[in-house]
Every structure is written in structure tokens, then in C-alpha cells.
Amino acid sequence: MSVTAAGAVDTARSADRRWLVLAAIWLVLIAAPLWMPLIGGYTSLGTRILVLGLAATALNFLIGFTGVVSFGHAAYFGLGVYGAGLVLRYLAPSTPLAIVAGILLGGVIGTIVGALIARQRGIYFAMVTIAFEQIFYYIGYKWDAVTGGFDGLRGFQRQPIHLGAFVLDIQKNDLAFYYFVLFIFALVVGLMGFLLRSPFGRTLLAIRENERRARFLGISVNRHIWLAFSISSFLIAAAGALYALLNDFADPSSLYFDLSGDLVIMAVLGGIRNFWGPLLGAAVFEVLQDYISSQTVNWLFFIGLVFVIVVMFFPRGLLGFFHRRRQT
């Protein structure tokens, strides 16, 4: 067999493996409500993992695939939460409208903020993202009449989805809501995967690997970072809108930098260079929190310990580690 033929075989094998892994991931997600109770889980925990996994994946569009670190992305997540909540509370009892409103509120404001900060780099970029996040946090906290202040926005409920003659009751049926969230999750990660495989996505990778070289090639780096920030904001706002539907509640903690930190931890835990890493990180983070916090009040210590261990011994995250083992 010639070297070219061997290369073709390797490529085909790699493609097969990729499809196999993809099929396994979706099988696991689709079957989650069946197997989670066997290991002590429950459906709404699965839904929460999907939502926060989506948020971490959206953040990773910026961190892992563009090489720009934001510690303030909870702002656009939280705006997605409030966008959806405010529509359901004050405008119309429509779940699709609430999701669209959440995506638009977080995405559009993220786009505006991105335009203002895209020229910053490194620690300055990270600090400015936190500063903007604090602005939105305090708006949510202090604008009591509209947002409900620290107590949060109450008095709304996700509404059943009407599909002609068929009604998907996501309000009372947790299982139906899980699959609804999984459907939105699939749409969003599908869109993100499509973007990353496009020339635009390859350009982002080029910027991540060597910004100076990308600039020499004539790439408008600032504009691409702005676009990446904007897209990431729209995607994370979608997760935020789902979070509002999950809790039937919106409060300022969804805009707080603690949550941004948690999302970064989830991404790093799973592996920021891997598309599915943040979802795995979110699953590990949430399951650990759910389980350990039921056992001890010192659960934060153990979460921190796991994070330190991962950073020290699995610097590329859990999926990065497995990926490297397979390569060796």
C-alpha cells in the first residue's frame, strides 16, 4: 500500500471514529432521562447540565477557539435570562417569543459591548468584560420595579409549545422540557460547529494560534474578535433564555461574575480545545456540586480541589487528556 493510500485509510478511519463518537454523544444525551436515575440523577439535573453546558460551550467559542478570555460572559447569559423572563412576565405567554427575546437582548448588547472592547487584549480585555458585567448586574439588582431586584423576577412560567394540532407540554412534563432543551441545544451547537468548520472559524483558529501572523496575512483581527464575541453572546444568551424557562425565575445572580467563573471552570475542566469539552466539564461540575453538597456543607472545598487536580494533572482538561492518551 502506498503512503498516499495509507493516509487515505487513516483519514477514513478518523472520519469513522468522529462519527462514532458523535453518535455516542447524542445517544448518551437522548437516553439521559433513562440512565440518569440509575446513577442517582434526575431529569431536571440533566436539563440543567444541558443548559449550563450550552453556556460553557458558547463561552468556549471565544476562549477555546478564538483565544480571547472573557470573565464577564454571565452578563449576556443573564440578559438572556431576563429577556425571556420579562417577555413571559409582561408581554406574552409564549415560550418561543421568550427565547427569541432572550437571545436578542443578550446578543445585541453583547455585540455593542464587543465593539467597544475588541481592541483590548489579555488582562485588560478580561477586566473590561468584568466591568461591563458588573454594570448589568447592578442594573438587574437595583431596577427593582422591572427586574424584581435581588429577589428576582417571579410570576412567570414556561408555556406549552403549540405545533398545530399537537401540544408539547413543557410546562408540567419535565421529560418533554428536557427534550425541548436538547433540541435547542442541538440547533445551537450545530450552528456553532458549522461556523467553526467554515473559513470564518478557521480564521478564528489562526488568530488564536498566532495573532501577529494572522494580522500579517491581512486578516482584520479586531473585527473577527468582535464577531466572535458577538456570536458567543448570542449563543450564551440562548442558554440564558433556557435557564429562565428551567427555573421559571430570573435573578441577578445569573448576571454575576461568580457564574462567569463557574462557566470558565466548566470549560477548562472539560477541555477548552475540544468542542465537547465544556459540556463534559459542566456535567462533572454540576454532578459533583449536586452530589457533594448533599453530603457536606464544605462542598465548595471539594469542587475547588477537583479543579486544582484537573489543572495540575490534566492541563488540557478531561477530554484533552483522553485525546492525548489515544494519540500516544
Partner: protein
């Protein structure tokens, strides 16, 4: 020519092998066998959510201890309806989203029969909303904000602790009479603080008083700027409405700034957990205790207080009593109705008078049917440094104000309706 392993392409054989493996995995039992238990073997589950971490953790821990003590007492007397009682505790981490997730866990996964929570009024609000959606009995042991049993009252939600209006109405006239009508408020910026301050201001302005107020983050730790403003205002009384660790930090800084020589202290809640954690100079002022352990001559109180002190090595506080009463109330309703259905329990609790061994205070203590608020006595009095012989005796009761007098039903805004 390259000799390698057989092609890794996904062939028919590999697909078949994979299918067989998955099928085998599906049929092999990997968990413990599912044994259906008879009802009598299954415990009755009480799900408790409280902020065991965060700035309100001091108070939350005491509530859970009181609940745990009640569960042990119930089980030592044979359980409820022949079944053991079990307490499941979850940490809301002083975060609304976490609290909501945890109550779903307790209801959906753990299948608890009654839920409880939370010290944090905002979380109490949110989790009681979830409990209402799920149609489960929910008791709020220690979240004070008024609308929970006021304008947002619900058929399945009951509350043990006082409303902010009860506490403010019980102490306001005493503060005005003793110190004057010029007040400065330090208030946490959330539901509890807003409603408490509004109740105080209503009483103060009705009596012709003046005030200044500052809303602070719930977990504030630096009060220097606020205390400087308070000093400039020269109030008769500083009303410290903060809670938990924030109130403790505020009291320490109040002493460090020397304000204890310039203005009196007072307000609604200054709880046992907080009084024991502040300097002697800050153990002062006129306050409300929602329950107090030193009630000479009142049956059962001493036994309860001594048992808590012996078990947990700390003063027996109102929070212990909240947790205890919450569990015992549900037990009484279950035994009265011989049912675990939320609707039956709610009907039984509405208007129920607590027996003396649960009420642990004089007079009639009952759940008011119109708003599902417990009607105990409000203990008003003076906080003072404890005597060396009894480190836990730092409060002198001046008056017991019946709660229904402090906050009449007509003023709550509750229109209670049960599902048909």
C-alpha cells in the same frame, strides 16, 4: 508498501459487534436490585433547603439543627403513622437558582412529602413558588418577607417565623418611647429589608418621626461609609436591619467607630447566633426575639432548650425553634388527617393550634387560616452582655406581644383560595 492493521472502517461486522455489546450491556444489571418496599418500611421524608454556606449560614445551621432534633424526637416516639421520619437537607448556598434546583431535586428525585426553606427571603419566595407548582406542602421556617403569606399567599405555603410587619409593629413604639423619633436605617437591599424598613417607616412617620435610610448589599462586609453617614445624621437610634454575618460585621464596626457612645441600637431582629458573635459593647439595644429560651414557669421550654444546648453546645435560639416547629407542625397534620396528601395537610394546618410541647411559649399559638402565618408571641426586650455565670442569658424580655395584634389579617393582603 505499508503494512498496517486491518482497516478501521466501520464495517458490517463491527456494527453487529457493537450492537451486540450494547444489547448485552442493556440486559446486564449494573445497579443494586430494585426491591419494592412496603409503605410501612418507607420513611416519611422531610426536605429542608437552607443556605448552609454564605452570609446567612449561622442562622440556617440552627434551623436545620432544630429540625434534626424534631426528627429524632419523633422517631424515638415511634415515628409518624407507624413510619420513621427522615430529614433530607440541601444547601441553597444563598443563591436563588441553586435553591430552585435543590427543591426540584427533593421533590422529583427524593420524593419528599413536605418541603422547607429558606432563611433567605428571596429563596423562600422562589422555592415556595416551585412547591406550589408541584402541589406539595411547603413550610417556610425563617424567611421573613411579608408577601409569602401576604399578597402572594398560597394554599400549600405556611410560615413559622414572623412577618417583618409583626416584628416592626411590636418594637416601634418601644424604640420611640425610649430613645426618640430620629432614626437611621441600615437595611439589606432585598425583599426582607424592603418590607421591614417600610413597616418601621410607616410607624415612625405616623408618629411624626424623621429618618434616613441606606440600602446595602445583603452580604455587605464594609460598613465604614454607612456608619460615617449615620454619625453625621445624629440619630437617636441606629436600626441595624442587616442579617447574619453582615449584621455581625456591622456591629463590630459600630463599636470600633465608637458609635455606641453616640446613639442607641435597636431594630427588629438581633438573633442569638449574632449576639454571641459580637463584642460586649455591641450586645445592647432594644430588639425583637421571635422566640426566647428563658421562660420560667412555661412547661416544656426548659427541657427543649437544655436538650439543644447539650446536643449542639450553643444557645438555643429562635432558629432552633423554627426548625423544630416546622417539622412538628407537619407531623401533627399527618397524624390528624392520617394522610400525606398536601391538600389534606394544608386543610388541617389552617387554623391548627399548636400543643404546649410544640408551641413552647404561653398563650394560644396557631396557624392563622386566612394567611397560613403562625401566630406566636413577639418577644420584645433588651439585649445586654451576659453574666459570667450564664453566657447564654443576654436578653431580658420586656413584653410579649401577640402576633395577631401586631399584624392583623386585614393588613396582609392575602386572599387565600384552595384548589377545588
Amino acid at each position: 508498501m505499508v503494512h498496517g492493521k486491518p482497516s478501521g472502517r466501520l464495517g458490517r461486522r463491527r456494527v453487529l459487534k457493537l450492537g451486540a455489546a450494547l444489547g448485552a450491556a442493556g440486559t446486564v444489571q449494573v445497579t443494586s436490585p430494585f426491591i419494592v418496599k412496603a409503605l410501612g418500611e418507607q420513611p416519611i421524608k422531610f426536605g429542608f433547603i437552607d443556605p448552609l454556606t454564605g452570609s446567612l449560614s449561622l442562622l440556617a445551621v440552627s434551623e436545620v439543627q432544630g429540625a434534626r432534633y424534631a426528627i429524632e424526637e419523633i422517631n424515638s416516639k415511634g415515628g409518624i403513622l407507624g413510619r420513621q421520619a427522615e430529614l433530607l437537607v440541601e444547601d441553597s448556598a444563598n443563591d436563588v437558582g441553586t435553591g430552585v434546583e435543590k427543591i426540584r431535586k427533593l421533590i422529583d428525585k427524593d420524593q419528599v412529602n413536605v418541603t422547607y426553606g429558606d432563611v433567605n427571603s428571596a429563596i423562600a419566595y422562589a422555592v415556595s413558588q416551585v412547591a406550589t407548582q408541584k402541589g406539595i406542602l411547603h413550610i417556610v421556617p425563617g424567611g421573613h418577607t411579608d408577601p409569602i403569606t401576604g399578597k402572594d399567599c398560597a394554599w400549600n405555603v405556611f410560615r413559622v417565623c414572623n412577618t417583618t410587619a409583626m416584628d416592626a409593629n411590636a418594637i416601634s413604639s418601644l424604640l420611640m418611647k425610649k430613645f426618640g423619633k430620629r432614626w437611621y436605617f441600615l437595611t439589606p437591599d432585598y425583599a426582607y429589608g424592603h418590607t421591614l424598613q417600610a413597616a418601621f417607616i410607616k410607624n415612625l412617620t405616623a408618629a411624626g418621626g424623621t429618618y434616613e435610610a441606606e440600602l446595602l448589599p445583603i452580604a455587605a462586609s464594609d460598613f465604614s461609609a454607612s456608619l460615617i453617614k449615620a454619625r453625621a445624621f445624629k440619630p437617636d437610634v441606629l436600626l441595624n436591619n442587616m442579617g447574619g454575618l453582615a449584621q455581625i460585621d456591622c456591629m463590630k464596626q459600630y463599636v470600633q467607630f465608637g458609635l455606641d457612645k453616640e446613639m442607641a441600637l435597636g431594630g427588629a431582629l438581633y438573633e442569638c447566633e449574632e449576639v454571641v458573635a459580637v463584642p460586649t459593647a455591641a450586645q445592647a439595644g432594644w430588639w425583637v426575639m421571635e422566640w426566647w429560651w428563658d421562660q420560667p414557669g412555661v412547661p416544656h421550654v426548659k427541657a427543649f432548650a437544655d436538650a439543644i444546648v447539650a446536643k449542639y453546645k450553643k444557645p438555643c435560639s429562635a432558629r432552633h425553634w423554627f426548625g423544630y416547629v416546622g417539622i412538628q407542625s407537619a407531623r401533627l397534620a399527618m397524624e390528624q388527617t392520617k394522610s400525606l396528601k398536601a391538600i389534606d395537610l394544608a386543610h388541617a394546618l389552617a387554623g391548627m393550634e399548636l400543643p404546649p410541647e410544640v408551641a413552647l411559649q404561653p398563650g394560644k399559638v396557631y396557624y392563622r387560616a386566612g394567611d397560613h402565618e403562625l401566630m406566636p408571641n413577639v418577644f420584645t426586650g433588651e439585649v445586654h452582655p451576659p453574666a459570667a455565670s450564664d453566657p447564654y442569658n443576654f436578653f431580658k424580655v420586656a413584653e410579649l406581644v401577640p402576633a395577631d395584634r401586631a399584624d392583623p389579617l386585614a393588613s396582609t393582603g392575602c386572599h387565600m383560595t384552595f384548589p377545588s
